[in-house]
């Protein structure tokens, strides 16, 4: 025992950071290596592809804005997965929660159009509506787990389908649907319900996300509820023996995660499209909700790691779009590298003796 304590003291901070980040760096190198090899084999210029992939976000103002625009919903759907993941449950429904939140936001926004509310009231109302919608939608899965022991993986996937068709229904049905359009979409939201643009470039959602990041940090580290979530996640037996209510904690994590997923939908509807439109939750042809799972797995669901891993994936997504546009390299290859990164992070962390779940 004494020897162990001495050796603990000897590890410097730098060493600790190295030990912590080693699996990530290795996973990144392996994934980029494999993807690079495939890009090369398919006959593309590997160097150019990587240059485009990694640096598009930084080479122009537009790149930065595009990256932030992806970062906003991605961070939120990542939390949607990461928070229930803290107590070891898989919310595969960040996607459905985003769709549902966006749809309800559009419905309420259109319904309130006649009241001529000022933006300062209208926008907060819609933000709360989006969060409530996503939260309640996820809570269904939390409730089914808590009271009927139904695996949330199954229930959230099923709820995703409901959300998809709900979007289509609203976007193609009177009185919500926009007249004379080929693509399913709703009427536009009133002016006062749209998120303002900051510096004429990026919508107000970026401020909301910054507040969410701070709030989640505060929740996890400073509050009783955060403590109970962490304790339950590490050792559910001890947590329940010492009076932490499992059902309550479980349902709250789904409620909070779902609320943030719903918020992602609301922000996209209010800030980007200004209406409900089929496919509003897509990026590079895939759902933000799916990327959220991936992104959360990269940071092992660590709430502090969420913004970091979200910005990283956003950079890749922007780069991947550019790569497809300019070099005709399919974006799917970037998805491939993301998947490989996640797999190797899991494998390498296991090998390093760390647990998959923190």
């Amino acid at each position: 025992m004494a020897g162990q304590e001495v050796s603990l003291k000897q590890t410097t901070k730098l060493q600790k950071i190295w030990v912590g980040s080693k699996p990530y760096i290795l996973a990144l190198l392996i994934a980029f290596g494999i993807t690079g090899a495939i890009i090369g084999l398919l006959g593309y210029n590997v160097l150019k592809a990587y240059q485009t992939l990694l640096f598009t976000s930084f080479t122009s103002q537009r790149g930065i804005i595009e990256t932030l625009k992806k970062f906003i919903p991605l961070t939120l759907t990542t939390y949607a997965f990461a928070i229930p993941f803290k107590i070891r449950f898989f919310n595969i429904g960040g996607w459905g929660q985003m769709l549902f939140g966006g749809t309800i936001t559009a419905i309420v926004g259109i319904a309130l159009a006649g009241f001529n509310l000022p933006a300062i009231i209208f926008i907060p109302i819609l933000i709360l509506v989006a969060m409530a919608a996503g939260g309640v939608f996820a809570l269904i899965a939390g409730f089914l787990k808590a009271y009927y022991n139904i695996n949330p993986i199954i229930s959230t996937i099923m709820l995703n389908f409901i959300a998809i068709y709900f979007v289509n229904f609203i976007a193609t049905t009177e009185p919500w649907k926009a007249p004379r359009t080929g693509h399913p979409m709703s009427l536009k939201l009133p002016e006062a319900a749209r998120l303002p643009e900051l510096f004429g470039q990026i919508h107000f959602g970026i401020v909301i996300v910054a507040l969410v990041i701070i709030a989640v940090y505060y929740l996890i580290n400073k509050t009783v509820l955060g403590y109970e979530i962490i304790a339950t996640g590490i050792n559910p037996d001890a947590a329940s023996v010492y009076g932490i209510k499992m059902r309550r904690t479980l349902m709250l994590t789904f409620l909070i995660g779902g609320a943030l997923g719903g918020l992602a939908g609301g922000i996209e509807v209010m800030g980007v499209h200004q209406r409900l439109i089929e496919g509003f939750a897509l990026t590079s042809g895939a759902q933000y909700g799916i990327f959220g799972i991936l992104t959360a797995l990269i940071c092992q669901g660590n709430p502090l790691g969420v913004p970091l891993s979200s910005i990283f994936i956003s950079i890749l997504l922007v780069g991947a779009d550019a790569m497809q546009r300019t070099l005709q390299v399919p974006v799917e290859l970037v998805f491939l590298s993301q998947a490989i990164i996640v797999l190797f992070i899991v494998v390498l962390r296991r090998r390093a003796g760390g647990s998959f779940i923190q």
Binding site: M1, G3, Q4, L8, T223, I230, I234, V241, K245
Partner: protein, 511 residues
């Protein structure tokens, strides 16, 4: 002097696990046809040494000789070939198989069909010769722990073992069963089997063994002839510098001071029946108990007879199907654990790592567990971490937790230190009732004494203590009364003047 026939010799065996020197140049030998006690506290290296002989671990240094011949044992397969059999502390039988199926499992590798009839006859002969009776055609999962031990012993013999290692075989046996087992072992020895008997109880060694070796902290303190040695010699070997007075069962001696009991019971269980939370748990069946302030009520019983359920029904009275649970005159059926705790009740669970601590959390975070909603540690849902840290530092000081600081991960502390944190946490508030389940399991002597002293201190302050433990010797040391639990029922309650290992033991097995 007759030259002894050495069947096994281990010379200068060392083994290291990371930072821990589990065995340090240990010498150990076995004479043919003896019962050899291997004595030592938990963590002394007894099981490590035997696991090396059985091939589960490989020694870092040292030599092993079987009947004078140098051998290298790389796996249990090697050791079985050399005639070494080991019976582990926990059962290694396949629960879904019958005893017979378990016995022949793996013996006839090259045949496609099982010739059960021949095997059955052979096994029945062993059973008769050694007096180890058990049903051959019942699924093992339906048999009690005592019988499983017998099946494992016969299995080893059936596979040709003539050196038998028994790792703490008496943990789940009551006195009567222990004596029967001993008889069987003596019969085996007469047939030429040599037995290693691992235990931490001095009394058992004196009763059962011809010679005994004492290991402490991975160092062999010596081997003595138990016919000539006294209990004091063994104590001397086992606890050289310790200033602890211990009984012959190697338990610290504690004096219970005179304390006036409260006139009304702190906790009353009236005819309580309750559903177990676990799938294969035991349901509580019409339990009536009264626990007064200023007394320690011991609960004895073979593991898995409803002890855990009894503890849990008190701190989480939600599964009660019948009866009344009354805490300080107020019915608390259906109350939440938080509310029960807020009525000056605390709990020290049985399984430290699984139920007491959040292993990946540090000491401070663990001190908060169960107190996180108390006003002194939070305001409007925001935790006052500075207050928690101060409390953690207090506990480390007062309970002598060996740790560099309060930021150390709780899961990395030793069992004794974890238990000090857990007890410290339970005692943050004044208590009227403490429910505790095997709080001393696996602890070294100093920590066991520490736990006992705290329980007795609580008793002196007028707290009611419900002390559940499988170890009857420990219960008899610190209890005012002992209730025996069997299959979810309290079958009898013994007063201090009626404490008797045989009587209580026979109740424990349903006698």
């Amino acid at each position: 002097m007759v030259k002894e026939n050495k069947v096994l010799e281990a010379k200068n065996v060392s083994k290291r696990f990371g930072e821990v020197q589990a065995l340090d140049k240990v010498n150990f030998d076995l004479n043919e046809g003896e019962i050899h006690g291997l004595l030592g506290e938990n963590g002394a290296g007894k099981t490590t040494l035997m696991n090396i002989l059985y091939g589960l671990f490989t020694e870092d240094e040292g030599e092993i000789y079987i009947r004078g011949e140098r051998v290298k044992i790389n796996s249990p397969l090697d050791s079985i070939k050399l005639g070494i059999g080991m019976i582990h502390q926990s059962s290694t039988l396949v629960p879904e198989f019958t005893a017979l199926e378990n016995l022949i499992l793996g013996t006839d590798g090259n045949k496609m069909s099982l010739e059960l009839k021949d095997a059955e006859k052979e096994i029945e002969k062993f059973q008769k010769d050694f007096g180890l009776k058990f049903p051959l055609h019942t699924k093992v999962k339906d048999l009690p722990a005592g019988l499983k031990k017998k099946i494992e012993i016969i299995r080893a013999i059936y596979r040709g073992a003539n050196i038998l290692i028994l790792d703490e075989p008496t943990t789940s046996l009551v006195q009567e069963e222990f004596e029967k087992l001993l008889e069987s072992l003596k019969k085996m020895v007469a047939e030429g089997v040599t037995i290693v008997f691992i235990t931490h109880k001095i009394k058992e060694v004196i009763q059962a063994c011809d010679r005994a070796s004492v290991l402490t902290g991975g160092i062999m303190q010596g081997t003595i002839d138990t016919k000539k040695a006294t209990k004091e010699d063994l104590v001397q070997l086992m606890f050289q510098d310790a200033e602890i007075n211990i009984t012959e069962s190697a338990i610290p001696i504690i004096n219970l001071p005179d304390v006036e009991k409260t006139s009304e019971p702190i906790l009353k269980l009236q005819n309580i029946s309750a559903q177990s939370k676990e799938k294969d748990g035991i349901n509580l069946d019409s339990i009536s108990l009264k626990i007064y302030g200023g007394e320690i009520l011991g609960i004895a019983g073979i593991s898995g007879n409803g002890q855990k359920e009894l503890a849990e029904v008190i701190i989480d009275p939600n599964n009660i199907t019948k009866g009344k649970l009354i805490l300080k005159g107020k019915k608390i059926n259906g109350m939440s654990t938080n509310k029960v705790f807020s009525r000056k009740v605390s709990y020290i669970p049985e399984d430290r790592k699984k139920e007491s601590i959040i292993g990946l959390g540090n000491i401070t975070e663990n001190v908060l567990l169960g107190h996180q909603r108390e006003p002194r540690f939070q305001k409007k849902g925001i935790i006052k971490w500075d207050k928690v840290t101060r409390e953690a530092k207090n506990i480390i000081d007062e309970f002598q937790v060996k740790t560099p600081n309060e930021k150390k991960r709780a899961g990395k502390l030793s069992g004794g230190n974890i238990q000090r944190v857990v007890i410290g946490r339970a005692l943050i508030n004044e208590l009227d009732l403490l429910v505790t389940h095997s709080p001393t399991a696996g602890l070294d002597m100093a920590s066991v004494e520490f736990v006992f002293k705290r329980l007795v201190e609580l008793r002196s302050k007028g707290t009611a203590v419900l002390y559940i433990n499988e170890d009857l010797d420990e219960l008899m040391q610190v209890s005012d009364r002992i209730g025996v639990i069997h299959e979810g029922k309290i079958v009898e309650i013994f007063g201090q003047d009626q404490f008797d290992k045989y009587k209580i033991g026979s109740k424990m097995i349903g006698g």
